[in-house]
Symmetry: D2
Subunit: 337 residues, 4 copies
């Protein structure tokens, strides 16, 4: 019988780092977690007049729910997190520019002497039943509907080497990868660095363009269901994702080509292993059927995924069918609810 | 009556630069060009024993067909090139590693002291009728079929500022962008830098993964049909593409984030103009529905596209319907052939 | 009367992070600290047969001495650390290549499929009295003497935002900047992020080339004397250095141009402030007399300094003469010892 | 008897590319060339009211004097150019910001949506006899004297592969490296790509900071004397410099770390060859005594040099004493003039 644990943190229970924090819950492998997450602004930006630089207080940005300790997860193992469901918690969501943050502005590191862009907030209408959101221009009457495609920008485990990282940072422990691929139906794999893995989750987006060019997606509080499990004795050196159709590896680094290299390198060696291919044969194969969806080009590290359809790999199975098993559990949960 | 010009160059007519060369043909705007192009190896790599570093002679790599002078195209105008058809000319194609070339190896600029990767050639079977190609591993019996998705890695015009560039370089004049988006059905727009524009085309791929991680796609000679036309008085500062569904801008630069920035910047300002949006409103809109397919992460500049579905832009029309008109001409040509 | 505190940690007292650790000592502003530091290998590489990848245990690398709590240092203040003396503790020092670490090799992030470089150790003779060290080639009889120029690769304070970072990382809190400019005679300024600042120090080098191209300097345990003091109510957003002749700002980021931008941006605004110049006037001035010594091109962030001779700034004084005061204290200490 | 050729081009004789142009003179190896060069603005910016974006006409920027055909220089050889003397031709010089050009501003490739920096011109007084120049702030009365340290930002030969490049581009053919190391007393080595090498020279600076952060040095027309000679059968893959004390290799690429890697890689292999060292031994040696002066962080490629004092190389002689011979010729010329 699958255990279901529900956890809806109060604002003061939210976390702002991966690592360096005590677990909020301890659960068994195989547990279904019903979680709520706040948006990246901590819910303080509620309309176009709530400028983030005014209403938010650094470093209380990008809160995550967790961390959750998963029993039996030890350094050297891999944590599997299947995303069952991601549902916006409100009928609105927000996005904004933010001074010196985003891809088309100078930043703290790409330091320029130019003045910052105007700080503007956009408020979206969210219609969960219809599966749509609506954009409204700020400086004209233009408005347009877009598909709702909920995802989590931030998910991961405690980092290695006694580190504690701001939730805004994506790296090999996961974190703020900001990839639209982290939607319901995906299983994410994270290498375990500390006992219990210490999984946390936040930064829901109703949808997001490739690269999150303005620095924010359509930011929303979420009600999210995940199933956590543990793969013993195998370590995912960088986050990996699996769907029914595809395998993916994440790379988070600067410059952007290094994020690309990391992700392609991991997927080449992973698929070589899964399909029994020589490394250069896998390199060639990926070179022709591999995809490279960009996650973010605005965070402290940039994130790119390497992605390949399983059908090109001759029936290879990752992690002994973990994704398929969690998928079945998810279906049972959803149909019995 | 649309004029059709057929040009099938002999090997010694091929060109190795954009710029610095006399036109091979002069045609009127609206002309349909039936062209043949050689593969990036000049057709010298015909099997797994033909190592590129042995059979090819630098700098006679990546030949292009052209340049073609288009009458009336003047600096400050934009050349429109609609890709009607791209058909592999042979029943095989090749790909390879190449010493110190590709994304997962040190290179001439990312200089390391490590030895190069093994140089290997893969020969693909090409079945145009079935719309498939077949990959064969070199170091095992693994084999798999992939969809044929023909594209041109290299297309562009003579650069500005009296420059002449190797065909392997992508930049604002086009060149070796190596993006899978340059397939049949697309209209490419290139800013005109010299009288006649001097359009050239080459480097056909039967298909290619995002980023062309090994440094080569599935390289093939092609029989390609394009229609060329001129947009007077408007200058595309970087290559743009249009399909029935989407608009795209290309950015070619290093590091990869700059290619991303260039492409997003051009698409933001272009869509702001087309949809009558304020720049920051367009930035926000693109931030949520924009895509960023990676072209190459191996050439002298890396290439990323910014892409948006037209349906989000409120019925905006680019270049006064040029794409739709060329599309109609293409359909007439194909149905009357 | 200046207080002198001596602290020579045992191996198990060493620290491997900035942040996330209790102070080993608490001292008053103005205290002279006599410290000993271990080398980056924790003293385990003692000769050419001690391969780091064999004798060292990740993540117990690059140990630092500390952290030291400085009373009265509060977030928003700046910690001043004057380096009085840095003396090698042994008559030998070591350097090495390390698999996938260094500037002329693929790395974890600049991921390639090539095999790693050979792992080799070089052992240097250190003659403190003569002020020289001696290099011996490993694969020939070549040998040459070099000036001893002792420095600390790693120095800094606890980071902001509840973070804890591996000591190998340089960032705005300091850390592993690996710049030869951090030698005796310099005053380093670090913005204070947590109460007490939590200063730590390690990674002594007998000398180092620009960029630390192989990934290691001439690594040595050191006996080092520093004076710590606090500047209230001013926050150095990135580490700054001052000598009798020069002012410097450090930038640590990737790609390397961003490290350059950060450092130049900080020095432009700092010198504008000190010399009463308009920002663009300071930009122009730095553009002609500014220097940009490269620290490292091998660590998780790369480090570049921006440097300007004070004589170009019209007699401006940084931090109300802090450097001059500490310099005097240092001279008194050295002459009375 | 050494031949002396004087060439002072009229404005319409200036060149704006390396490659793609007929030689203006043909000379024998060993010839002393007395040249005049215009400043990067073509002499059109003469005071603070002459804004470059108004008075200059793209692409007629950064003119060079030449190209000069050197008899007997064949592809695969190396051209040696000894800089005997670089003397400012006027008693003033200028520098400026330029919209979207420079290191602390968004650019064409680091594309941002922010407005450009103000365009300002600074006019320097030049006192050749005193060996000084004088800076005057634009927005205050601040003024300061700086040493005159004349150099050429742009020098090189025709590129390979039928290319023609704007003079503003630095690459393996030389070009706009913008390094202060290219001053009188240095011998520059350029690999020859086309018959006669086609050497050209321009972009004099009275001095320049590391990285040319504002995008321009103290720009001046120059009267410059060089001696050209040919090293048969050896090819410098990237520009190299030699002084009485040092050897240097130039790397020009993006991102900046690749410029660093290229330069260090070339210097490692060059010094290994000169000193009879194993490659890793040379890598280690450079790692401790190598310098890395930054040239520019603003041009289409960024430039970094790798530099080592000859005294660490055990008496090795580059190119069979070419530098020493040209040095002697230079001394004779200067003393007999």
């Amino acid at each position: 019988m699958t255990e279901v644990v529900t956890y809806r943190p109060t604002p003061d229970e939210l976390s702002y780092t991966f690592g360096g924090r005590e677990p909020v819950r301890t659960v068994k492998p195989g547990t279904i977690l019903e979680l709520s997450t706040e948006d990246c602004f901590g819910g303080r930006v509620r309309g176009v007049d709530d400028l983030p630089s005014v209403v938010c207080e650094f470093p209380y940005l990008n809160p995550v729910t967790g961390p959750v300790h998963i029993e039996g997860a030890e350094p050297g193992d891999t944590l599997a997190v299947h995303f069952v469901e991601i549902v916006p918690a409100r009928d609105w969501a927000v996005s904004s520019t933010f001074p010196h943050f985003g891809a088309l502005t100078g930043t703290h590191t790409t330091a320029t002497l130019q003045p910052p862009l105007d700080e503007l907030v956009w408020r979206y209408d969210v219609d969960v039943a219809a599966g749509t959101i609506r954009y409204h221009a700020r400086r004209s009457d233009f408005s347009v509907e877009m598909p709702l495609d909920p995802m989590h920008g931030t998910a991961g485990v405690a980092p290695a080497s006694f580190e504690s990282r701001m939730t805004i940072v994506p790296d090999v422990h996961g974190g703020n990868m900001d990839t639209p691929e982290l939607r319901a139906g995906v299983t994410a794999y994270f290498g375990v660095n500390v006992p219990g893995a210490l999984f946390a989750l936040g930064d829901g987006h109703c949808r997001q363009g490739d690269g999150e060019v303005t620095g924010t997606g359509v930011e929303a509080a979420m009600n999210t269901v995940v199933i956590v499990d543990v793969i013993k004795g195998q370590f995912a050196a960088t986050p990996r994702f699996e769907t029914d159709e595809s395998l993916m590896s994440a790379g988070s680094a600067r410059p952007l080509e290094d994020a690309y290299r990391m992700s392609q390198h991991d997927l080449v060696t992973w698929t070589a292993d899964l399909a029994g291919l020589d490394t250069l044969d896998a390199y060639q194969l990926l070179g022709q059927v591999g995809e490279a969806p960009i996650g973010n080009v605005c965070d402290p590290n940039y994130t790119v995924l390497a992605k390949v359809a399983k059908r090109y790999l001759g029936g290879a199975t990752a992690y002994e069918g973990m994704h398929e098993r969690l998928r079945t559990t998810a279906r049972d949960y959803l149909s019995n609810r």
